[in-house]
Amino acid sequence: MSGLLYKDFISVKGKKLTITFLVIFAVMIAVRILMPYIFSSLPDADLDMGDMMADGLYWIIGMLLFTMMFGTVICSCPTKLVEDDKTRGRVIDYYSSLPVTKKQYIASHYIFIGIMAYVVFSFSMIWYVIGSSLCRTEQINPLWNITQLVVFSFVLFSILCAAIDLGAFISLGSSKGKAVRVAMIVLLCTAILWYFFFGDVKDVSLEIIANWIMAHQFELLLVEVTGPFIVLSIYYLSYRISCHFCDKGAY
């Protein structure tokens, strides 16, 4: 299995990716340490909650970009891991000569993406811990809620996308898999555009989001608690479906 995981690491250009990941992480930490506040010249007493939230805004944006960037990398993994329709026959010939079963081969892709998601999430949390220690005391609760929600949602969303994508690529082939991916992106963009055109965006601010989160703590706790179980169940289901199609000769 470690051999298969190493193969996947090479397929996604793992060394380059790791170096990029660590450099971005280090730069973000350095920026956070060197510039803890935008309003650093003002004493706490002179700031209202809105200023304090704006103070933490770039920290949240940084966190968002970091998680989004590597979330996208996770989502793009299936195309790099699963062979395209043209080379698939040759790859199958190759791995059937190895002491691994088809299921192990498929499982290695799922495990690899799972490990990537775990690493991205862990680094996001380290970034969060370092970032939050430099917050003003009053900022902690609202910022903690927003950043936790952001990181959690993006990592779970990436795993969900990877589950659908990987399942489609393995079960339906790469051309149909790409069609599924395009459909997902179109759906997501439509939802975002719909919100910007028809949703109530003029009053959206970090403070309002923080207040909304504080008012809906119970619902969010439910999502936080059940979300990972649901997403991981879908991920496992995707693996089982891929194995089922693989038994029928799709892979």
Partner: protein, 292 residues
Amino acid sequence: MDKKVQLKRLIIFLVLAFGLAWGYEFIFIGNGFVWDMKDPDSVRLISLVSLGMLAPAIAHVLTRVFTKESLKPAGKDSMMLGINIDNGKWKVFLFAILIPLAYSAAADLLLCLTTRGLFDTSVLPDSGMPNSMAILIPVSAVSNGVIVSFAAFGEEFGWRAYMMPKLKALMGRYPALIVGGVIWGLWHAPLTCIGHNFGTDYPGFPYVGIIIMCLYCILLGGILTYVTEKTGSVWPAAFLHGVNNASPSILAAFMNAEKLSQVSLFKQIVCMVIPFVLICLILELRGRKKLM
């Protein structure tokens, strides 16, 4: 392998694990940091101080690099990073994730049964939450403990994947479990001295706290070593440690804080130790039965 070489490697690892963690923690302690959950300034820094948990993992990798030991992720004499759930090993993973729920609930149950007025169903409603919310505590602990297990992994990757195999090779299983637990407990000493785990208001502070921490680490270490040995992987131990740190007991939500503050530390420790000892005994007997 030569015991001298093993000992040398273990000493290098311990110097690094203690040096890195204590050095990091003393920066905060020197600047007046105390472990006080009621002080907002302390709360802001607690997570940052807790990153010291990554020190044993860094020490593990550095020791292997310095002593030119194998860096292979899985297999014999490896870093124990592999995950193998075949041959029923998934049950050990499940056990590792769920057992903290059992022993923490058992400890709290003992405490509630022996302390009149401690169990109070009005605690949650008074804080504005329905009693049914309590069911989310263990579920949330499992979910957070597994997903946010990187800090626990930091410790386990050092103690279980490096220190314990070396100690077992040097002195045998049982002495290794005790010595390993004492080392692990002493490693926590700077934090125990600023109020981590037991606070600062107890007789014999901080020496009694350090001794209790060593005892706790011996018992918890026994279970953590068991799951590591059973799977040949450090991951179940990391998950167990993660869930353990997430305080998974339902009963804790129903404890009257005022009454709890009146319960002696000795009584709390006895209630905590009994379930641990029982679990360790059961695991040990099961292990012996299988050998026979």
